[in-house]
């Protein structure tokens, strides 16, 4: 995973000048529930350094997934700033944010979210459809990503032919295939048995240590959080 597909190298270099890749400054996120304004995040500050593996923990409704969504550029803060690799993500228009996500963020979801009609290889190849690559190049990169997660033998299998742990590893391959610097994982072991969860966590550790990927992981699982280098606890929209 060489970083060849990253299209924001310049911005990344700028962001990592002081070793910071994610910077949340006075971030506030509110939702309207009827006429009532509900504050999910309240003036939150967070700094994540390049190469970190950090976990966000907290009870349901504490705002950890909302924070992760803001960092990943899926949503915009109501106020404050989220800077990722030097880019003020919240200020990007929708279309630019989508392109930015495609180039810089790898997503791992709790429920894997594979397309059932595509093979493991095709699922991993999916994000590369947005890159300017030939089909041969796409295939090669997808194969490499699957090799990294140890599933080169299962490339032609459909999601229904894979176990939960294997599906999640395919999802990880899909997350790293564009060689993003930041991987966000929302409850990546939430649907897995202990053994599979352990395999997935080992893989995340390896991506962090061997490939220097920055990982931010939301989890309820203390065992998973233990594998992170740093754990942040959230409650009622604020870091403890």
């Amino acid at each position: 995973m060489s970083g060849e597909t990253s299209t924001t190298g310049e911005l990344a270099a700028k962001g990592s000048a002081n070793g910071t890749i994610v910077e949340a400054i006075k971030v506030r996120k509110t939702y309207l529930r009827g006429k009532e304004e509900l504050a999910v995040l309240q003036d939150l500050d967070l700094t994540v350094h390049e190469g970190a593996f950090e976990a966000l923990m907290g009870p349901s409704g504490s705002g950890k997934s909302t924070l992760l969504n803001l960092i990943a550029g899926l949503d915009r803060p109501s106020s404050g700033q989220i800077r990722v690799a030097g880019v003020d993500v919240g200020s990007l228009p929708e279309r630019s944010r989508a392109k930015w996500r495609a180039a810089n963020i790898g997503f791992i979801f709790q429920t894997y979210n594979m397309m059932p009609v595509l093979t493991a290889l095709e699922n991993v190849e999916l994000p590369l459809l947005l890159a300017n690559l030939s089909s041969k190049e796409r295939r090669e990169r997808a194969k490499t990503a699957l090799e990294v997660v140890g599933l080169s033998e299962r490339m032609q299998h459909y999601p229904r032919e894979l176990s939960g742990g294997q599906e999640q590893r395919v999802a990880i391959a899909r997350a790293i295939v564009t060689d993003p610097r930041l991987i966000v994982a929302d409850e990546p072991t939430g649907d897995l048995d202990r053994k599979s969860a352990d395999d997935v966590l080992k893989l995340l550790e390896r991506l962090n240590t061997e490939f220097n990927k920055t990982i931010i992981m939301v989890t309820h699982d203390p065992a998973a959080a233990e594998r992170a280098k740093k754990v942040h606890h959230l409650d009622k929209g604020a870091l403890l």
């Binding site: 990943a72 899926l74 949503d75 989508a98 392109k99 996500r101 595509l118 947005l130």
Partner: protein, 389 residues
């Protein structure tokens, strides 16, 4: 990306198959109705160019005096004339079978309608036998009649049992005549008490003239009508083609209705297909959220939804055409050509109809998926991801 859309068709095979079948049925119906329209219109094209028909000026159903026949024959440019009377007979053994029964003067009739082919011996036998009749090969086959058979028809206009003997079976060398008609002697009809009672003695339904120059059919028609302009019974003459066209004009409302029905069927299919696509989009909301998260743009989702719908509807259209050809041309078409040859002399799918059906099938998918595609493109990533996967 289209590949992904195509692969998505295999996600719910039964739904895809049923949707394709729905489109197929709509396309078969569309092709059938369109072919009815084109075949009906084509009937006029098969009309003989050197024949002029003369009827009562007011209506088809009002008769002309038989004495007019000789006067028409005397008009310059008219080579020969024939008369015909609509009889309205029915075979009691086959009550539901409709076929035209016409009283004609055999020699004149075969002279004017030279595309009616009857073997010489059968022709002579018909001329000699006052109760003889010739029937089309399609009708003879359908009702199991053979030469020499005695048949009794019930008169629906001229009541009573009418005895006939099958003298000959005709075939048609051109598509301008129906192969399911029954022709018998006018003399037999004219001398019957029923004709007298109905005021039809020495009256004819219409006169058909063979002319020497097809290019003069309008002038000759005019000359015929001018001749009878000052009489009690005026005439209306026109080329056989114009006569067929005017008949089509009489049923133009029916044709218009057929036209509208064919389009209504497609409109219904758009709604059904649209609902199916919308259902698919709702089910995949979470998946679309994931795609948007990893960088796909709203326009990509539009491409996914539209291509999937267009591929399904186009495949349904292709399937519809594949079914249409044997169904319309070998099934319904053969039946209509044999049994209603005068109206549908050539019941075949017009290549333009096939092309239009295919284009419409694809357009069907495009229109049906437009709203669901727009809905998918407007999804907020976070909201879509929150939906159960």
């Amino acid at each position: 990306m289209t590949m992904v859309a195509v692969r998505n068709l295999g996600r719910n095979k039964l739904r895809t198959l049923l949707t394709m079948c729905g489109v197929m049925v709509a396309i078969v119906t569309f092709v059938l109705l369109r072919t009815v329209l084109s075949a009906w219109t084509a009937a006029a094209d098969f009309a003989a160019k050197d024949r002029v028909g003369t009827r009562h000026k007011v209506s088809f159903i009002m008769p002309l005096p038989k004495r007019y026949v000789q006067e028409v024959r005397d008009i310059p440019g008219v080579k020969s004339t024939a008369i015909a009377n609509w009889f309205g007979g029915k075979d009691p053994k086959h009550e539901t079978e409709f076929f035209a029964t016409l009283a004609v003067e055999p020699k004149d009739f075969l002279d004017v309608y030279d595309e009616i082919s009857v073997p010489e011996d059968q022709r002579e036998s018909w001329f000699q036998n006052r109760t003889g009749a010739i029937v089309g090969d399609a009708l003879a086959k359908k009702l199991g009649w053979k030469i020499g058979d005695r048949v009794t028809l019930i008169g629906t206009i001229f009541p009573g049992d009418w005895e006939f003997q099958i003298s000959g079976i005709y075939t048609a060398t051109r598509r301008s005549v129906d192969r399911s008609s029954f022709y018998f002697h006018y003399e037999y009809f004219n001398e019957s008490p029923q004709a007298t009672q109905a005021g039809m003695h020495d009256m004819v339904g219409w006169i058909v003239s063979r002319i020497d120059d097809p290019g003069r059919s309008a002038d000759i028609s005019k000359a015929i009508d001018v001749k009878f302009d000052e009489r009690d019974v005026q005439t209306l003459s026109m080329s056989e083609r114009a006569m067929n066209t005017s008949f089509i004009g009489m049923i133009s409302a029916v044709l218009k209705a057929v036209d509208v029905v064919s389009l209504v069927i497609l409109a219904i299919m758009v709604l059904i297909l649209g609902n199916t696509v919308a259902m698919g989009v709702r089910e995949r909301t979470h998946e679309y959220g994931v795609l948007r998260a990893i960088g796909f743009l709203p326009k990509h989702l539009v491409v996914f939804v539209l291509s999937e719908a267009v591929v399904v509807s186009t495949l349904g259209g292709v399937l519809g055409l594949l079914v249409s050809y044997p169904f319309v041309e070998k099934g319904v078409g053969l039946f209509l050509e044999e049994n209603m040859g005068a109206f549908f002399p050539f019941f075949r799918i017009d290549p333009m109809t096939a092309v239009a059906a295919l284009i419409l099938a694809a357009a069907l998918g495009l229109v049906a998926a437009a709203l669901p595609a727009y809905t998918a493109s407007q999804l907020k990533v976070v909201d879509a991801l929150r939906r159960a996967g």
